[in-house]
Symmetry: C2
Subunit: 338 residues, 2 copies
């Protein structure tokens, strides 16, 4: 298959490109490079020995999207493109709605005109309205009572996709709800390259380990969890990438949502301990006030992904820490400014 990856130069996009290429698919990437780096595509080519067609363009611009569909044969789309900072979405909601919703509508319109029916969409476990129960299954309530606009953009897009599929019986859509992607490719060539202060735990821990930052802030230690710190489901990005390959292979008419997680929760302190073990010295941290909107614990029910897609996570938190550290220590400035 010839697969178009929107946002394919980003963290999850680049790892998915590797897995797709290594499974024999052809990959075209459309990426604005606003939040990513062309170097990631070169590294994907280096890892796989295959070439990737890159279009630099903005998915909110119909003319640029049209050009890609006119020039390339597209059998299926994996739609990663979007802004993804929870905190930024609170302070700049209009940017998030414009980027995430508009771009998706432009893409769906182009797909309709070029008769492309197969889509895998990057969603997030943040679309589940929190009810405190775990593990979280795909039939959990997806609505708008969410802690932040970022999550709402994803929930809205999920509902838009369902409405489109109800009107067009030919559409085949898989919605992948990521839990907490971590780690990097085992080659050390590609990984997460956040701009500025990392929003997510593991890149933050990596930068502390590297000496770029002083210590990890742990947001709260009085949660109702074994050690009091928040529990999340950290899934290795290479497992996650393989989930996209499985989802493409398993597409069926209509819309189907799948959790991509490990099914196991790890606390913030467990992550710090696992990383400390990899680098063989303790990563410094301090307990600070909990953040508004954070839940105590969230981990995935992964039975549907296993049963329907035949996918399950293979790698461990320790693998993720070792791979994240290989990437961080080998690329202290990420992809640099190339």
């Amino acid at each position: 298959m010839r697969v178009l990856l929107t946002g394919g130069a980003g963290y999850i996009g680049s790892h998915t490109a590797v897995e797709l290429l290594q499974s024999g698919h052809e990959v075209t990437v459309l990426d604005s490079l606003v939040n990513s780096n062309v170097e990631s595509i070169r590294r994907v080519e280096q890892i796989t020995g295959r070439s990737v067609t890159l279009h630099i363009g903005d998915l909110t611009d119909p003319a640029q999207v049209e050009k890609v569909f006119a020039q390339e044969t597209v059998d299926a789309v994996v739609h990663f493109a979007g802004l993804k900072s929870v905190a930024e979405s609170v302070s700049q909601p209009l940017e998030y709605y414009r980027n995430n919703i508009d771009s998706t509508l432009v893409l769906l319109d182009a797909m309709a005109r070029w008769d492309v029916k197969d889509l895998v969409f990057s969603s997030s476990a943040t679309v589940y309205e929190p009810d405190g129960s775990n593990p979280v299954a795909e039939n959990g309530r997806v609505g708008l009572d969410l802690a932040n606009p970022y999550g709402r953009t994803k929930a809205m897009i999920e509902h838009i996709l369902r409405d489109l599929a109800a009107a067009d019986a030919g559409l085949r859509v898989a919605i992948l709800r990521y839990f907490n992607p971590v780690g990097a490719h085992s080659s050390g060539l590609i990984g997460e390259d956040p701009k500025g202060i990392p929003n997510n735990l593991m890149p933050y821990v990596s930068q502390v380990a590297q000496g770029i930052r002083d210590r990890v802030s742990v947001f709260g230690d009085q949660y109702d969890t074994p050690d009091g710190t928040g529990v999340r489901d950290y899934v290795h990005v290479v497992d996650l990438a393989a989930g996209h390959v499985a989802a493409l292979a398993g597409l069926r008419p209509g819309v189907e949502a799948f959790n991509l997680g490990t099914g196991r929760g790890a606390s913030v302190l467990e992550v710090i301990d696992a990383f400390s073990a990899v680098i063989e010295h303790p990563v410094p941290y301090e307990i600070v006030a909990p953040r508004a909107g954070d839940v105590a614990s969230s981990f995935a029910d992964v039975s549907k992904s296993k049963d329907v897609l035949g996918w399950e996570a293979q790698l461990t938190l320790e693998d993720a820490c070792a791979d994240a550290w290989r990437w961080q220590s080998g690329n202290p400035d990420g992809y640099g400014t190339s």
Copy 2:
């Protein structure tokens, strides 16, 4: 105040233009005329003896919207523009999301750049997730579990507005949730001018009364209501228009939602009977199968609008029927094709 009305040439927009002008406000209209007619603006000028500035343009096109804000002084916006057919939204969901969501995001972006902070938004009672209870109050659940994409576009926009107001303390937004607007201006000069087969009950009844259509289809007579037909809250469009004037006057920092309804339900057969009394002969109808997604009964709790805005409906269902008939019989082809 100089008020910009998006979609101001439409049914509710034109009636609101009249009430605003008669309250001493100045009115600028931005309308694509895709689903409305420039003649309605001429009629508004005829009723009020005041002039309206009309910009013909598409709200999804940032350049066209920019031009309006550059040329006009805008103190506040009343945002009517949008596609509004429930049935069409099911068959053409992408059109609905693109038109209703994109246009709103373009408008909000222009408002931010031109420092316009006051907004009244046309929402709908369809944003309430049905739970069978009545009357429906503003704290009812607004989410995505709705019967159609049209309602979802409105619910999404409501949540987008709340996120924007959370990020910008200067915004003052009133969300007006319309129940079932009916009737026409008492002058008989402006009214509802649906293209093709009417989606709503009263224009359909009017066209049957006029002899344009054979009979009214009544969708189900086995509901748990006094006469078995569906009960809705029909609010006269002139009352509704006055609600917009009151909402503008009552704007406060943040986002506040208000029901615009009468607080009283009327069944389909009551509407047909009231209309038959006006024309002094029975409007023919037949009972057909109920429609998927229709609830038995829905009417508004109007206490908040009364308490906070000092607004309540003054006109009756009989007024609405008489005014609708004056409009229909005086304008059998609506605004025509001018």
